[in-house]
């Protein structure tokens, strides 16, 4: 069978110790038996390893940081599309999604670039700071949480949350504070790095379990695979994990994706309490960095996402292999200085 040729632009090429999902997404695409994907890497920094992974990424372009806004991004994508004729774009960073969602109709209508993303209201509704309302609206158990902007507010909320409490950044980072001193220290540390607000969250004791899922935006959960971390780095990232046979977890996750009419990839992070209750800690609006495990277990979510983005009907995955592990590793790429020079000077390679 002749494979269909499709050009896909992918961000999140930072395959580092706290990896972006770009490279695992690309690996899923490269495993496709139906498509012959040409991969265009979109990077923010010259040292993102994916830029130099020539067997996975055919060509890379630097794009402006999300803080630059939509206009510079659109301008850059116009140029890249002129050169590469992109069919689908898969943004993989939380912080860039706002711009890509806002631009999605322009990208589609003007440049012919498809994507599969939630609308902006849905994207905002599952934000960490609004998780309580989100839980109430969609009937999901969530730990109590509150958005704060100052240390005084933290102290004011001590009685309500009690220690230990979780102190979280609005996009990244979370620490468990056992005392007021620790909470204040985490408040400063996280807000210095990621800005305000800070989110205080009730600490729920139990086992962390995660689900990678794909919604088609029409109320169907196309695929979902649950995983438990087996090895965690000092940054709290999974370095190894295993697929689970947890029907209740799967049911809750599918129901969430379906009720939301979620479009695109997502990661649902839960704590399973000793009583067997599942508390949703976060819903990340893109594939997780461990999404390739879903592929290894029999559900190629990135490939299915491309088909949906192209307007094709995709049946729901019925099953996956339980007890499948991923074990991450680090690997030194040897790169000629001229390769680095191209991306540093020309912004493309």
């Amino acid at each position: 069978m002749t494979k269909r040729k499709i050009t896909v632009a992918v961000t999140g090429l930072n395959n580092i110790d706290s990896p972006g999902p770009g490279i695992p997404v690309i690996r899923g695409l490269k495993d496709s038996k139906e498509f012959d994907f040409r991969i265009i890497g979109l990077s923010y920094e010259t040292m993102e390893p994916g830029i130099y992974m020539n067997d996975l990424v055919d060509k890379s372009y630097q794009i402006p940081l999300p803080s630059a806004g939509m206009e510079p991004l659109l301008e850059r994508l116009r140029y890249i599309n002129y050169k590469e004729n992109i069919d689908v774009v898969i943004p993989n960073f939380d912080a860039e999604l706002y711009n890509f969602i806002k631009l999605s109709s322009i990208l589609k209508n003007e440049l012919g670039i498809s994507s599969l993303l939630p609308d902006i209201d849905l994207f905002e509704s599952r934000h960490k700071s609004k998780l309580c309302e989100f839980g109430e609206k969609y009937d999901i158990l969530v730990p109590k949480s509150k958005m704060i902007f100052s240390v005084n507010e933290l102290i004011d909320n001590e009685k309500e949350f009690e220690y230990p409490m979780v102190v979280k950044g609005q996009y990244y980072d979370a620490s468990i504070a056992a005392t007021r001193e620790q909470a204040i220290s985490y408040f400063h540390k996280i807000s210095n790095k990621w800005g305000l607000p800070i989110i205080l969250q009730q600490f729920v004791s139990g086992t962390e379990v995660n689900v990678t899922a794909l919604g088609d935006g029409k109320g169907n959960c196309i695929g979902a695979v649950p995983m438990r971390k087996m090895y965690i780095t000092d940054k709290g990232k999974a370095w190894a994990g295993i697929t689970l046979d947890d029907k209740k977890l799967l049911e809750i996750s599918k129901k969430t994706v379906e009720n939301l009419k979620w479009a695109g990839g997502c990661e649902l992070e839960y704590i399973k309490s000793k009583e067997g209750k599942y508390y949703l800690l976060e819903m990340n609006p893109r594939f997780p960095a461990w999404v390739y495990l879903a592929n290894g277990a029999g559900q190629n979510h990135p490939e299915a996402m491309i088909k949906i983005a192209l307007g094709e009907d995709v049946p729901c995955f019925e099953n996956y292999e339980v007890g499948k592990l991923f074990i991450r590793y680090s690997y030194d790429l040897i790169v000629d200085i001229s390769e680095f020079e191209k991306i540093a000077i020309l912004g493309e390679k």
Partner: protein, 81 residues
Amino acid sequence: MKLNQNIAVSESGFVFNPTTGDSFTTNFLGKEVIKLLQEGKDGETLYKEIEKKFDVSRNILEKDVEDFKMMLSNYQILEND
């Protein structure tokens, strides 16, 4: 108490709980006890089956099996009925 039906036990004594993702290793006797529990054999029936294969006094057997079952319960391999 009954054995979690999803539990997978290999010939080598590798025990995998697919619901939690936990895995354990057990020796030959542990594997034998789990196998019997999986077959629905417990209490007196289980002791008699073990006694057929192992030279062990009843007191020690009962204590060891109960300790082992307690461990299985802690690891969610044995569940409440």
